[in-house]
């Protein structure tokens, strides 16, 4: 178990493995997203209250789930990198931010598009959209701090501190936003527990969430490869990879 872990954590091994893993993550992701979209748009029945408009949840919920999951992943990776000084973990954290930010933006926009028919207005200062907006600010702060440093090592560690400070704040922000908005509207995913959501409506959502997660992992693997290469530039293996980029690519 441990040898396997150390092998995985060794940058050259990770670089190679991540490269061969990418298609195994992205193709199933595409398949699942297509199946989920088909299920959500065609097979699932219309909601008795929201009509066909509710189908936006099949893209809104996975996006907003990813936006938060990616932030937590980023903070955990940053913490590991900071404490154990693992460059690979910093590479993961660095790769998470832009992906998370775009999905936060997607969650905001789809949330607004859902809001228009439901509330009669694109924007409502309700807990979910507001938290999502603040999360977007957190991502922006993280990314601008990261780009402010010239030294990659310093940038990694400084942004890790910010990511950790942010992740401690995320629940505080969430609860104060819920309290501030005065009305508690639980996140849609909790509808899973409620018997009200029919299985025909639920399964496409779960398939979409799984597909989005695989997609994130695939994109992450691609980005981490670049980040690892950059951090390991002085290592022999990285220079070998760079010298024979084509050959290594062809080999997988």
């Amino acid at each position: 178990m441990w040898t396997w872990f150390f092998q995985l954590a060794s940058p050259p091994h990770f670089y190679r493995m991540a490269g061969s893993l990418v298609p195994w993550l992205l193709w199933p992701a595409l398949l699942l997203i297509l199946i989920g979209s088909w299920g959500g748009l065609v097979l699932a029945p219309a909601d008795y209250q929201q009509g066909e408009g509710y189908r936006i949840i099949y893209v809104h919920v996975p996006s907003s789930y990813l936006s938060m999951m990616v932030y937590v992943t980023m903070a955990v990776a940053a913490g590991i990198g900071l404490i154990w000084r693992i460059k690979l973990a910093h590479a993961v954290a660095a790769s998470c931010a832009p992906v998370g930010a775009t999905f936060t933006a997607a969650a905001l926009i789809t949330g607004m598009l859902w809001g228009k028919p439901m509330w009669g207005t694109y924007w409502q200062w309700e807990p979910r959209l507001t938290s999502e907006l603040i999360l977007l600010f957190l991502y922006f702060g993280y990314m601008s701090l990261r780009s402010a440093f010239n030294d990659l090592n310093q940038s990694d560690r400084a942004s890790a501190v910010l990511a950790l400070a942010g992740v401690v704040n995320v629940p505080i922000i969430h609860f104060s936003v819920v309290w501030w908005a005065g009305l508690h509207q639980g996140p849609s995913i909790s509808k899973i527990d409620a018997p009200s959501i029919a299985f025909e409506m639920l399964w496409p959502l779960l398939v979409m969430i799984l597909g989005f997660t695989l997609f994130f992992l695939g994109v992450l693997a691609m980005r981490v490869r670049g980040e690892v290469l950059e951090r390991e530039f002085h290592a022999r293996w990285a220079q070998d990879v760079l010298r024979g980029a084509n050959r290594v690519e062809a080999a997988g």
């Binding site: 702060g141 601008s144 701090l145 400084a158 910010l162 400070a165 942010g166 401690v168 922000i173 104060s176």
Partner: protein
């Protein structure tokens, strides 16, 4: 030199206060900025009494937050530039304690004056007396939290040449819960209801920030000093 932890705290605090006393502009600027921002709203919107009264909690809290953000830049800068921080890093004491003392000194010279003039400005917004009391209390509990959160950001950007907007972008979102709770507490008092709930929550945030922010800022300052 053998100092107890408490003594160390006092030495750093006194030193920082003395340094600040020599530079009056550092003390005055945030307060003047605070007063300026608060005065903008009646001029830009409307001087009607009920309108201003409804606006007061939010405006005063936003201005306090902006003043805090503006002053943070100076928190560690001088110490990094003149090499004091380098010596502090080598002290055989927990760096978090030094940071806590410095942050407290910084709040005393930049945050406390803002809190002190807030009631006066609240009067110009026609806020009733009991709401002013709650505003004062919420600022008194809330602005130290802002300074503590800011100390993390200031420590992270201490080594950078340009950090003003970056600092605001980084710590601004972290400060939002304090802003929401503080402004809402005042708002609730204005509506004649009991604001103890949000005030307790503000206190909880202060306790959390007191325990977590100084060690985080200590880690950050070590990174910046590299």
């Amino acid at each position: 030199m053998n100092l107890g932890l408490g003594q160390l705290f006092w030495v750093v605090l006194q030193r920082d206060l003395m340094v600040a006393m020599r530079r009056w502009s550092d003390i005055c600027n945030p307060v003047v900025f605070f007063v300026l921002v608060v005065s903008l709203f009646p001029l830009a919107l409307s001087p009607r009494a009920e309108f201003l009264r409804a606006l007061a909690p939010g405006v005063l809290w936003i201005a306090a937050l902006l003043a805090a953000l503006l002053s943070l830049n100076q928190l560690f800068r001088a110490d990094i530039e003149d090499g004091t921080m380098e010596q502090m890093l080598t002290l055989p004491y927990p760096l978090g304690l030094v940071i806590l003392a410095k942050t407290l000194a910084h709040w005393l010279v930049t945050g406390l004056p803002v809190v002190a003039v807030a009631p006066m400005l609240a009067i110009t917004y026609h806020l009733p007396a009991d709401a002013i009391g709650v505003l004062l209390l919420s600022l008194l509990i809330g602005t130290p939290t802002l300074s503590l959160l800011g100390s993390i950001g200031a420590a992270l950007t201490a080594g950078l040449r340009q950090s003003g907007v970056l600092l605001a972008l980084m710590v601004g979102p972290l400060m939002l819960p304090v802003l929401m709770l503080g402004a809402r507490a005042t708002d609730i008092a204005l509506g004649g209801d009991d604001p103890t709930g949000p005030l307790y929550l503000l206190g909880a945030l202060l306790a959390l920030a007191l325990s977590l922010a100084p060690p985080a800022a200590a880690v950050a300052i070590r990174i910046s000093a590299d």
